[in-house]
Subunit: 487 residues, 2 copies
């Protein structure tokens, strides 16, 4: 199996060239300046030196955070960072027409940035070992820069954010991607972060806590539970990957071995414009037919939830809780602080169903309506939910494809790993990321809320905001990891 | 000058083929089943038969519209159509940091759809002669379908909307574009319409009030004052036009005659990915650095405006008024009704500065922050304003490039026509659309709010929401009209 080399591309296709180099690294992930065992040992050592301690604190006894007596909203004394407020949703014709819930409001746009540099022709990412208070397991692999605006404008009064200058003022460097992307639309109100990939050619000093890994290696690390954090995954999902000639789209330079790997590669090739126009038409259509009216309301006007013993809980113990935590750390910008976290009541499931049509992998996406999204809905996994929230429902009222995902034949499972969501806002939030291959074309009736798309279609959409949700972006990165030749 | 024919494109490039046919019609606009004189006579006859009468009515004496005693908001008794409410904007660091104003709120998504069909290999658009109550001059050329959701779900209890089925259920037809686009962000709160182009091959019955014109002819009609209405223009702007081989991007099949027309054609050709990535980076950057907090407030809490003698006016007579009108018509779904309209206090100006760089036309777009936009800002004209609102300001406080546009050398003006904005919501709203060529590369210092882009970059962005504002979409259609060989 060979990938057409860079020599065929003129200077104008420079970014296409970078997409092809990404693909080549995915095919051969062990070609890296940091052998995998050394990376894992480095991460483990970093984790073992970590002295972060996290303990629960009543919300009404947090330091510098207040519960507003009028609204019940939870906010920092500085007015910065984020607030916990209430949300009222009205979705005419939806499975639930009206509800209220607590929600995290964080209007500031942060930066999630990965610095890329080529070593011996292989693109590498400068990744950071980072401990977040909500992490299940201490240290995880985080982007080069993971900073809220409060972080990088030093509201914390902490240390400067290393490498920030590459992302705030990329100047002469090459920006491979830079797009505002949403995060969990059921937990955040219109939160967005700037997902950036910046390539440098100059020498970069590697600071303590940072390490270069190849693009392929980073994707391979997705198969380790709770290792690559959510902020890394969303940026990885936005990386443009093309295992085919980006100039002509066809013929595919990969020899067809009839295998899964070739079908993934072909899924990254240019799609016919008519096909993409139909996909855009479908998105506009479902967006037009899903009304959602959303208002922020005072947290103390949310019904069915209450603050008791310093925790905000749903009356039936469903969905999530808002808890307070106190953190003490030896190696962070601020050494001691308290804050609220959102603690989901169960493990999430995010599954892509995939199929092969004429040797091309297709992904079954769903139009997910979530109250915190800026534009009603985004394309998400085939099925995405917290399984426990649906356990009490009869089979016919459960989300479509949930049972099929849970009961999938092990032989059809291409990817299956528990990964952590953002540890700076969520407490022990974990999601099972699953890719299941369906056996034949057209066996699955997609229905109006679902649609089969290629990886290329998702990549094009991910250059823009409001199209692909954070769970689907993780799953795209997981699918890219399948380019690895593990035969 | 020749355009590479369809034979070079495989079936996969079908939509690219349609983009090329669009371009070919633009080059040769008189190749049409309806000769231009016949079309103009038809339109004039339709206009002369029109019996619509519009007279002003006090807002507090409208039929079926009420002024809410608590909020002062103006709304229809049915709760449908639209409302006039108040808006409060906070733009830290902006030229004006805080203000309030009246705004039209119309959360329903309507359809603006143009039906396309090929006659003798030339794509034609089925256009409608339509009278709107706010029109300056009675009849204008409107899309095949121009319908609010209240229209097409028959809240009016009027006639069914002709040709609606092609857009609501395009099924076996080819959807060339379908995208939610914003409208005036200073006058509408998050209004969006679905801009659709649907191509049919089957026979279509031409109803009274409709007529086929070629794509090129329709663009040529843009040079007639107040003829092609805003709803037509926004859909035309979204039409994908490529006067170059869409598969390879280069070499450009147009012989370089060194002229303007060739530079426009070349501006529609594929751009290097690196260039487009930098444009996306710039958009994300300006979006991140422009905070805008917007709330809807009761109309009676808007300061500096008041309702007197049945009209809502600004204290200094600036910006716009909200007036009531009564309409009597002989040829519309509903024969008699009243409604509010927004009446701007002066004529607008929307100007694109363009330049030629190595034979490729580039357009100077500006990041326009407007309170009614869903995502803070969109790319708009180089300069866009109501000139009269700035007349009292010293030169240095006027919008950038305003004086340069007003004082442009007549020889540098490529397009200059007064066109009308939406006559269903605005009363005699007219904008001078201007395209000015700057004389040399780099003479204009773009500054952080402006950027030079190609027509192709704008076309790609217009496939998605929240990127290109309604005035810029009109100007793109005006630029496409320059492909016409009038040498």
């Amino acid at each position: 199996m060979t990938i057409q080399g860079p020599s065929v591309f003129g200077p104008e296709a420079a970014s296409g060239y970078s997409a092809t180099r990404m693909a080549r690294s995915l095919l051969d992930p062990h070609n890296s300046v940091t052998p995998l065992p050394r990376f894992l040992r480095w991460l483990e050592e970093y984790g073992s030196q970590d002295e972060t301690e996290v303990h629960q604190v009543r919300l009404d006894r947090l330091d510098q955070w207040n519960i507003d007596p009028g609204t019940g909203n939870i906010r920092h004394g500085s007015g910065r960072f984020f607030t916990i407020e209430g949300l009222r949703a009205h979705r005419p014709g939806g499975p639930v027409e009206r509800w209220t819930q607590p929600i995290i409001r964080q209007p500031e746009i942060g930066i999630l940035g990965i610095l890329v540099k080529e070593f011996d022709g292989v693109p590498h990412c400068l990744m950071q070992a980072k401990v977040e208070p909500g992490n299940f397991n201490g240290v995880q692999v985080s982007p080069t820069v993971q900073a809220t605006r409060s972080n990088y404008t030093r509201v914390h009064k902490g240390r400067a954010v290393p490498y920030l200058e590459y992302f705030r003022d990329p100047g002469r460097h090459r920006v491979l991607s830079d797009v505002l992307q949403s995060e969990q639309g059921s937990w955040f109100y219109q939160k967005r972060n700037r997902n950036m990939v910046v390539e440098v050619t100059e020498d970069v000093e590697v600071l303590d806590g940072f390490c270069w890994v190849s693009v392929g290696q980073l994707h391979l690390l997705l198969t380790y539970p709770d290792l690559v954090n959510m902020d890394s995954r969303t940026v990885m999902g936005c990386m443009q990957v093309r295992a085919a000639d980006p100039d002509t789209g066809a013929p595919d330079p990969l020899a067809d071995d009839g295998g899964l790997r070739t079908s993934v590669a072909r899924s990254t090739a240019e799609v016919p414009e008519d096909r993409f126009a139909r996909t855009l038409h479908w998105i506009t259509d479902v967006r037009t037919h899903n009304d959602m009216l959303v208002d922020l309301i005072p947290l103390n006007q949310v019904t069915g939830w209450k603050l008791a013993e310093g925790v905000v809980r749903h009356a039936d113990g469903l969905f999530f809780e808002i808890v307070g935590v106190g953190i003490t750390t030896g190696g962070r910008e601020v050494r001691q602080w308290t804050q609220p976290l959102l603690r989901p009541t169960g493990t999430g499931l995010a599954a892509f169903f995939v199929r092969r049509v004429e040797g091309v992998l297709e992904v079954l996406v769903r139009a997910h309506v979530e109250p915190g999204l800026m534009d009603v809905l985004e394309l998400g996994p085939t099925v995405q939910c917290t399984v426990a929230n649906h356990a009490h429902l009869p089979a016919e009222r459960r989300p479509r494809f949930l049972n099929a995902a849970l009961d999938a034949d092990p032989a059809a499972i291409l990817f299956d790993t528990l990964l952590s969501e953002e540890g700076g806002r969520f407490h022990h939030a974990r999601t099972r990321y699953l890719v299941v291959e369906t056996t034949a074309d057209g066996e699955v009736d997609a229905g109006p809320e679902h649609r089969w798309v290629t990886l290329r279609e998702l990549s094009v959409l991910m250059r823009h905001s409001n199209y692909v949700n954070v769970e689907a972006r993780t799953l795209v990165a997981c699918l890219h990891s399948l380019l690895h030749d593990n035969s």
